[in-house]
Amino acid sequence: MNVTLCRDDATYSAGGFLRANWRVSRVSIEELSSVEVSVLWYTEGKGDEDLSVHYFRRYDGAQLRRLGMVDSQPIHCRLPPSPLSYRGHLLSIQWGIRVRVFVEEGREAVAEHPFYMVARKPDPEALANSSRIDLPCIEPSVKTPLHRRLPSVIRRWRDRQGNSAN
């Protein structure tokens, strides 16, 4: 099983969009009973585990045969605003994409790809664009263009010159 994320640093902003791909290889499609794909968070540490599934999709055998296993399958979902990834003394909050494969004989295998969810103010333009089907991956933060920043830069430069003259 292979899970790939669209970001190399595996860091996604809260409320942003997650796009990933999963693929099951080296197993014939006839042997597969079902596949479950989920985006979830769970706690690790001294306390008992808490787990919450944010995105869940189950593919049964007929759906898997219809999809075919040659190409990797996409995962699209919008992440919730909380909880953020956390590593503390007693508990850690871990986000991840989990793919669970059920084989005909009752056996199952699990693969998981962790990622970090951090806080960030969502960009309204990115949110509007991401509602389309051809959703791009996470939009980079939009910087203020130079011609808008120029007056404040000149003002700061003049203030600095005035202070040095005094």
């Binding site: 001294k46 979902c77 960030r120």
Partner: protein
């Protein structure tokens, strides 16, 4: 000390050591199914017994063998011989059948389900999936909409899953600042306990004292009872002093009022705080501390234990000596900044991250006090941190 696996013998009353799960999940499922089946069988047997003894045998009027009559005349079938006894036994047996059937059905429905699938079916999916583009392929099971949070939590985010809500805090308006924080009441049940103990024990002592005095009065002294009254009276005095100490601790220390300029908090934000301490006392020191605590619950054998860890403690104010009069209560307004890279409030079944303000005072002759005011910290929506940690 290592234990040999061959020497160790399984004992049902022993504590689980080492791994939390000694057996596999399959045996657990079997045990659950056996329990629910046993519950159903017991309920059916008892209900049939009551049904036959109450209605069928008198109605049909057949002659039963002696063994069957012994069973039908038993206390269980007759409900102890009381008028409503049979009905009570019948209702209990029907309840056993119902709970067994419900548990068995629930367990069978989730047999072979993965942990994620059960969690998804519980409706814990966020409604944020609704904004995701429709995927090509199979039907989506993630259609469950579940709002885990407050619709008014934020303008941009309508819900904050796993973040505790604080509507009670937001609804309490302050006089100096915007919100008045509610304190966690502590010590009330201790007063009730001390009062009950003092009342019951002193009543018993008075009765025993009356018996002892009447014995001396009528010429039939009870020396053993009189000797026992000495330690009994000591315990009675101790219970009374404990009760008075609890009352003094609550009634003597006046109320503490804490108001805050904004709530819920956000990491990196600056907030004003107003503290008012009423009562009549002289405090050596008065401290206001902002605390972030991690709390975890875990099972150890058959016990549920908890552990706390202070992840952050920031002293906002330390002042002393402080004099508080009924006419001039002590008050202070201060400003503090919540650190930027801190965890937001988090609440799950077994783990939580809690924020609170602690106001504590060290006083004499009055006992020291410590009051806690819970806070809710939201995720830093406006500040993109560089690191997830």
């Amino acid at each position: 000390m290592r234990r040999s696996r061959s020497v160790w013998q399984w004992r049902p009353w022993s504590k689980k050591l080492g791994r939390r799960l000694r057996t596999g999940p399959f045996r657990g499922v079997l045990g659950e199914l056996a329990f629910y089946l046993g519950l159903i069988f017991a309920g059916v047997f008892i209900f049939t017994l009551v049904l036959v003894a109450q209605w069928m045998v008198p109605g049909i009027g057949i002659e039963l063998p002696e063994e069957a009559r012994v069973v039908l005349d038993s206390d269980l079938a007759r409900g102890g011989g009381h008028h409503w006894g049979r009905w009570i036994v019948a209702i209990i047996s029907v309840a056993a059948i119902g709970s067994g059937a419900f548990g068995l059905g629930y367990r069978l429905m989730h047999l072979g389900f993965s942990q994620e699938r059960i969690s998804a079916q519980k409706g814990r999916l966020s409604r944020w999936n609704a904004a995701a583009p429709p995927a090509t392929g199979p039907d989506d099971e993630s259609a469950a909409d579940n709002v885990e949070g407050d619709p008014k939590a934020s303008d941009e985010y309508p819900s904050l899953p796993a973040v505790p809500r604080g509507p009670a805090l937001d609804e309490s308006l302050g006089e100096r600042l915007r919100y008045r924080l509610a304190s966690v009441s502590t010590g009330r049940w201790a007063v009730f306990g001390a009062a009950s103990l003092a009342l019951i024990w002193n009543s018993v002592c008075v009765v025993l004292l009356a018996v002892a005095v009447s014995g001396w009065w009528y010429g039939r002294p009870r020396p053993v009872l009189a000797m026992l009254l000495v330690p009994f009276s000591g315990v009675a005095v101790w219970a009374l002093k404990s009760f008075l100490r609890q009352v003094r601790q609550i009634a003597g220390v006046g109320p503490t009022v804490v108001e805050i300029s904004d709530h819920p908090l956000e990491p990196g934000g600056a907030y004003q705080l107003f503290i008012l301490q009423m009562g009549r006392m002289r405090l050596r020191t008065l401290r206001v501390v902002l605390v972030c605590e991690e709390e975890s619950f875990f099972r150890q054998g058959t016990d549920v234990r908890s552990d706390q860890h202070v992840a952050l403690s920031k002293e906002l104010l330390a002042e002393g000596p402080v004099r508080v009069d009924p006419q001039t209560p002590w008050e202070q307004q201060l400003e503090f900044e919540l650190p930027a890279n801190v965890m937001h409030s988090f609440s799950a079944t077994n783990n939580s991250v809690r924020w609170r303000l602690i106001v504590s005072g060290e006083a004499r002759p009055w006992p020291s006090f410590c009051r806690s005011f819970p806070l809710v910290v939201h995720p830093p929506l406006m500040v993109p941190p560089n690191s997830p940690r």
